[in-house]
Symmetry: C3
Subunit: 358 residues, 3 copies
Amino acid sequence: VPSTADPEVDKSFTLDELAVHVGGKLRGDAGLRIHGVAALEDAGSDQISFVSHQRYAAEAAKSGAGALLVNASYQELDRPAIICDNPYLAFARVAQLFMEPPWLPLGVHPRAFVAESAQLADGVCVGPLAHIGMGVRVGQGTRIYGGSYLGRNVRVGEQCLIYPHVAILDRCRVGSRVIIHSGTVVGSDGYGFAQDENGRHIKIPQLGIVEIDDDVEIGANCTIDRATLGRTWIRQGTKIDNLVHVAHNVEVGEHNLLVAQVGIAGSTRLGSHVVLAGQVGVGGHITIGDRVRVGAKSALSHSVSHGQDVLGLPAVSKKEWMRTYAAILRLPQMRDELKELKNRVSQLQQALQGTDND
Amino acid sequence: VPSTADPEVDKSFTLDELAVHVGGKLRGDAGLRIHGVAALEDAGSDQISFVSHQRYAAEAAKSGAGALLVNASYQELDRPAIICDNPYLAFARVAQLFMEPPWLPLGVHPRAFVAESAQLADGVCVGPLAHIGMGVRVGQGTRIYGGSYLGRNVRVGEQCLIYPHVAILDRCRVGSRVIIHSGTVVGSDGYGFAQDENGRHIKIPQLGIVEIDDDVEIGANCTIDRATLGRTWIRQGTKIDNLVHVAHNVEVGEHNLLVAQVGIAGSTRLGSHVVLAGQVGVGGHITIGDRVRVGAKSALSHSVSHGQDVLGLPAVSKKEWMRTYAAILRLPQMRDELKELKNRVSQLQQALQGTDND
Amino acid sequence: VPSTADPEVDKSFTLDELAVHVGGKLRGDAGLRIHGVAALEDAGSDQISFVSHQRYAAEAAKSGAGALLVNASYQELDRPAIICDNPYLAFARVAQLFMEPPWLPLGVHPRAFVAESAQLADGVCVGPLAHIGMGVRVGQGTRIYGGSYLGRNVRVGEQCLIYPHVAILDRCRVGSRVIIHSGTVVGSDGYGFAQDENGRHIKIPQLGIVEIDDDVEIGANCTIDRATLGRTWIRQGTKIDNLVHVAHNVEVGEHNLLVAQVGIAGSTRLGSHVVLAGQVGVGGHITIGDRVRVGAKSALSHSVSHGQDVLGLPAVSKKEWMRTYAAILRLPQMRDELKELKNRVSQLQQALQGTDND
């Protein structure tokens, strides 16, 4: 594998600085200078890696990493380390120190289109061929990459990343520190029709908006439909993977995870800390409680209360699904047992008739 | 929720005008001026709402709406109303009066690219950074929003809305009053390969087109592939939700509903008034009759005759699915019964041997 | 159906030239001039079609095609023909002779944005409103259509087709003869988060790239995420349909087929010649052997060894699935049999008690 590092990002921190940053305890050379993060197998002597579990001890021993993030139970401290409760979380925090958003020159590129009435705060970057419509307002430090589209009267907060080919359509609102990946559409019309006497579908105008709160991240090629009236709402801290569909008037709660290719039908409300695994479908007009987890590819069409784990087609509690699935796996055996039992009963009948005839 | 109304759309109609428009019967102040539509809970005194069912009577009574669309059976007429057979359909028709397509200045924006040989009819709007290829023809009143792409020799009819970031590729044809939402691709290559002696996939050139008839609406981030030869065809009045895939040479009949994340494999033909619920997959080279309805997440791989309701994985008739699913739910109980029966038979055998031994 | 041929593509070959091209045996007029390919029912006297199976003999007899590609067992040679082992493969190869990529003028369109530091080889075409970032390098003969986006330091090889609205993000690498259809995103961030003490999701920076090898084709509106560290890798000759999701650090082997709406979770490795049918979901961190085939809509969450056919939810071997599914279909009958058997046993018990009482 050729090196894929961006040559122009060159930052470094001392191990001591990193220990303070993650709230961990330093072991070894406090002044060791770390230039980046890497996986155990790829890390070099100026990089830091992490050991999330004792079972990776052998791999860690062989790693070329200059330092490790480990937890207190980790034994083989053959090199400088930072001891912390959750080495994976600490790794995320250290990696963020080295992360740079994709490069974009400050200010508005002359090849961008920016309407006169748009208001861009200090530190906003707008790439070539981006489109900023009338009345748009963008907060400090937000980067709008080339080829993305902000419609009329759109609001975007501070420190956001709007990647190439994103479309945020008229009047939609985006909070601060939001990341939206390429090809995602925010504010397409909801799918609403009334049927006339001849079975023709008459469009219900979709007059609402989409509102996206702070610290949300939305993957590539997602679709977040605007509300019929009111708003479709993605709440704070929720992270959405690629190719996810969120229908009109849905409310997605705080700190949810919606994995790739999930679809949520109209007017459904999700609580906080909900996890929908990949390719899950959620029906319309239902309520999903806090901390509910739905297994991959499940179809959920009824409301679910707080803390439930559900899966299946249609989705049931994990316990019920396990029991039913175990029974299905034993079906062929059940058929054999049933057949054998029929024979035994037939023999009994014959034997009994023999007794009668005695 | 902050107000999301577009401040520059200000239309109003008298209640009498609305009654005539929906073919309903007026009760109360004919001259009452209505400025918009809203849900029961949000409506103000200058707005009209609707009551689709008697069970919303309490909500209706509390509503601030200045007027209501109701059916003849609705009792509590405490305010001006329009009585009609289908209040939801009437609401759609009234809402359409207030709907304005997203604003776009008349004519071609100087920052758009329009090939010299393109022919744009009167009243066509083309937004900044849109791309209109050679030989394109666009009919009266069609709006092509910024950042959308029409390839070479594309035809688009009258009064269409082509949203930002739509791509309609070379030679494809779009009828009149068609709406295509952002990120949708019309005319990508069909997925066709022949295998050579070494298992390599040799591309079958995709030489056909996509043809989209009048009054079709296609959601965001859909993909409609061009035919290998001939055409992929979306017929009149069909409404397609987001992230739907229609493969090469498919014919989607009139007035269909294809809900989000549906996929249809190559050369399949759908009749008219077909409904495919969310995340359905339809196999290739099959025929689906008129008015067929396929339940969410089903996999349909065989042809289905007119009027059938099917669902499941693989899809079967709704009746058969219900029966099978009920049996599956009783499986654990069946296992218990089988076990108990085995015990009883064993006891019988012992008893019979006892009898024999007497 | 109106003619959909591109009027400006006019090539022709003699039947003899075509026979040599496909390595087949000529029967009839060697000098017959062929101007295109068509399906049996559409072909005219200057076009060639193919007969893949004896069962299409009647259709072939009625066809207006001037010549046919057939195999040696085909009898009714009523017109010029090329005899070959695999007429469908031969048809693909002949059709490719007539295929022209969508037209684009040579060189960089003045309305494109190309960074000064980008290096474009001879014969590269860049359409209007395309974006070529800093440090990009593009190989000979590659066509980058209008509205597509190449980020900073992207590499694209020779003879590629990058369709309108494709986004290839910073540092990603694309081989030669690669085709990427509209709306596809290459190099969006992988979906990786660590949870903090309060259940908030902390982003794991995605520092890697996507690498796409030679002769790959990727459909419309797909998402190929960049690796956390290292690369997401699509290997040589693989063909991907529309709306497919490939997560971070996935390795897709050589000559795979990934049908529409497939999703593959992170760090999974696919062997060569793997086929994933439509809407399949594959879990993370697993290994799929060479020539594995996964049935449509299956959910695969465990590793599978070479050559297996699997399907289902969850996926099992095709044989096991068939057996289990057959048992499920007979479930209602099993219930009836179990009920009948219970009655018989009850009667036996009564009879036996009768015997005892004698």
